[in-house]
Symmetry: C2
Subunit: 404 residues, 2 copies
């Protein structure tokens, strides 16, 4: 079988961990499999390089930042190849350029367009382990690009798809995907199998185990994904087409503190106003999540929505400086909020999930500020200070059942 | 005019020095010139990476070492581009791969085969300063290679040749080429103009200002080279086709402590013996410098020669384990020696240089162990402990004249 194994920055942070990963790869090889390993930069390397750049230029060019940051992964892969050689295994390291990972030119957030498989297949045929730098590619000018946060996961899944690999294993510092963040909810349980859609909702709602884009890509190309720990032998969580677990209807709880709400008040009650506001935000690449529009009271209406905390000030500036042209009275924000979401493919056919959620929050005396629902999830906004209590009450409500 | 400016590792060691170099480049640009800057890795980066590699594998693969080390220059060029942007100058950084610096596949000591000029010329036409990673290139498989010690000088000269640049400036931490090492000889003087051949002899004889290969290349392609300091405004030393300095006949003094002598004793006095010995050494890439062969005394003869100190044990092992097949009695070595050389294009037409040299050493009561002469240089081997005295006496003898 062909395995793509991805190891994150903490898994290769120092000499000992690099050797530990080499041994993990060796185990897969000695079981008769071929391995393509995808690595992130060691530990804090990326942050250190960013700091170095900002000391020289507070607003460095994105092209040059990619040139700088890409060295982190390049160092990881060279060191890993040396570690594998030290335990007698032949390998070859390849940068994104050398593989031929072709991307768009959006430096810092490039999208993979295509992947050449010729060099990798050539090396695999010669029984080499292939070690690929994650997070990076090149655009059509030959310039180095990076894929943005979680980019190494995306590299791994894209490689697994291009190479038609049997399994894509994402090694991380947790043992898999949990029903809720184990740091907040003590009783959270590891999920054995989960569907792409459920994982997507968990990922986009703040469960930081897998990057959303990598799950989207896995779904699109039907890549079987496993999330597991590089430090233990535990089985991990399998993400695949359809999770055959009829008996449950809620798969997990996502907690997102990285969120703020904005309220635009006194918008003229006429068609096209929401379009104007959200297209202005979209033009600045501000991602809007939950949107709530009040029923128009005569001549005006209000719209509230959530954004990532990091985009809050940009969004506020944009709205305030365009108050006249967008045609509203005033705008306010709240950055002391959190979002708790209950996710599950079974929810659509199982009534009462919403009321169970509200009941759990009510019993904890937690006020709900906004509600949003879809076929497989319910999200609520609450006060930031209530997050831990809410997460534990809600988890207790849904998961204090026999282990799945 | 088109300038190629090369800045070494110490010139870009930290944030302040990177900004200092950016300002040097800016001065050239504001004088109306175009600039291609070639950079080394910052300060101790290369050594730090080597150490990191050796901690994981005491004998790392040369291919992977090149993959690792090349990141040092890549970081330098990205940071320099950011520094130039910070002072308002547009630039673009390019790795050896991106320029298209094609080399042989000898990792760690690759030779430049050809350089593509398309991308650089495109960027220069768009008024970008072009910042190129020194020391690195790629072989025909697209694998990253490095050029070995002094490789960034070679990159700069090769680029100047390929781009038909008007001048190639090598910025370093000294103000130019001196008549002798200023650390040893206090009265040494900076040379204003020197010919390629003289510089070659000085370079190969241990003056560490310029790498030999870069001077050879400058000579071959008639590249006008300037060696100058990145820390001062001093004029530096111009290395060019013919140094028009009729009045002087000795251009400098080279001191080399990095040398050892080997004596092969009791070699059968028949044709082909020297060939056997030196071809065995050449096969192991051991460079032999001065060779002295005794006049045969009946059935045997002796051969003494010098090697780099770093190659001494390899050479001794080789000779000792092949004593039988090479056919000699025994071999001995001396690693407590130094080589002092007087270099000058005017020597060939000026008698008495040798006797002046011997007189200076005699007046200092320094014993000469071996002598070697060529058209433009005389080298003597002396006891290591006499180096400083010898250098000062010899320098006094040749340079206590009116300043050139």
């Amino acid at each position: 079988m062909l395995y793509v194994q991805k190891f994150g920055g903490s898994s290769v942070a120092d000499k000992e961990r690099v050797l530990n990963v080499a041994n993990r790869v060796a185990q897969t090889v000695s079981a008769g499999h071929k391995v393509v390993a995808v690595l992130s930069a060691q530990g804090d390397t990326t942050d250190d390089l960013l700091k170095k750049a900002r000391e020289i230029n507070s607003n460095p060019s994105k092209r040059e930042l990619d040139m700088l940051l890409a060295t982190g992964e390049q160092q990881s892969i060279a060191l890993m190849s040396m570690a594998l050689a030290a335990i007698g295994l032949p390998s070859v390291s390849l940068t994104g350029q050398q593989v031929g990972i072709h991307t768009s030119s959006s430096h810092g957030m490039a999208r993979i367009r295509s992947i050449d498989t010729e060099r990798i297949n050539y090396e695999l045929e010669r029984s080499n382990i292939v070690i690929v730098a994650g997070f990076q590619g090149m655009d059509r000018y030959g310039d180095i690009t990076t894929l943005g946060r979680g980019g190494s996961d995306t590299t791994a899944v894209a490689l697994a798809a291009a190479l038609n690999a049997d399994l894509c294993e994402i090694y991380t510092d947790v043992e898999g995907v949990y029903t809720a963040d184990p740091h907040i909810v003590k009783n959270s349980k590891k999920i054995d199998v989960i569907s792409y859609d459920e994982m997507l909702d968990l990922a986009s709602l703040g469960a930081k185990v897998l990057a959303t884009r990598s799950v989207e890509m896995a779904k699109k190309y039907r890549v079987n994904l496993v999330v597991r720990s590089s430090m233990s032998r535990a089985e991990g969580t399998l993400v695949k087409e359809e999770a055959k677990v009829e008996s449950t209807y809620v798969s997990g709880l996502a907690i997102d503190k990285d969120v703020a709400s904005i309220s635009v008040i006194g918008i003229k009650n006429e068609p096209g106003m929401a379009y104007k506001i959200f297209s202005a935000l979209a033009k600045e690449k501000i991602v809007v999540d939950i949107i709530l529009q009040s029923i128009g009271r005569g001549e005006t209406k209000d719209i509230s929505f959530t954004v990532n905390l990091g985009d809050l000030h940009k969004a506020m500036d944009l709205l305030q400086s365009n108050r006249q042209s967008l045609g509203f009275e005033r705008v306010s924000y709240d950055d002391n909020i959190a979002k708790i979401s209950v996710v599950g493919a079974g929810m659509a056919t199982h009534s009462g999930v919403a009321s169970m959620l509200f009941e759990a929050l009510f019993s904890a005396r937690i006020n709900i500020m906004m509600i949003s629902t879809s076929e497989i999830k319910i999200s609520v906004l609450i006060d930031n200070k209530d997050t831990d209590a809410a997460a534990n009450y809600v988890h207790e409500k849904f998961f204090s059942l026999p282990a799945r």
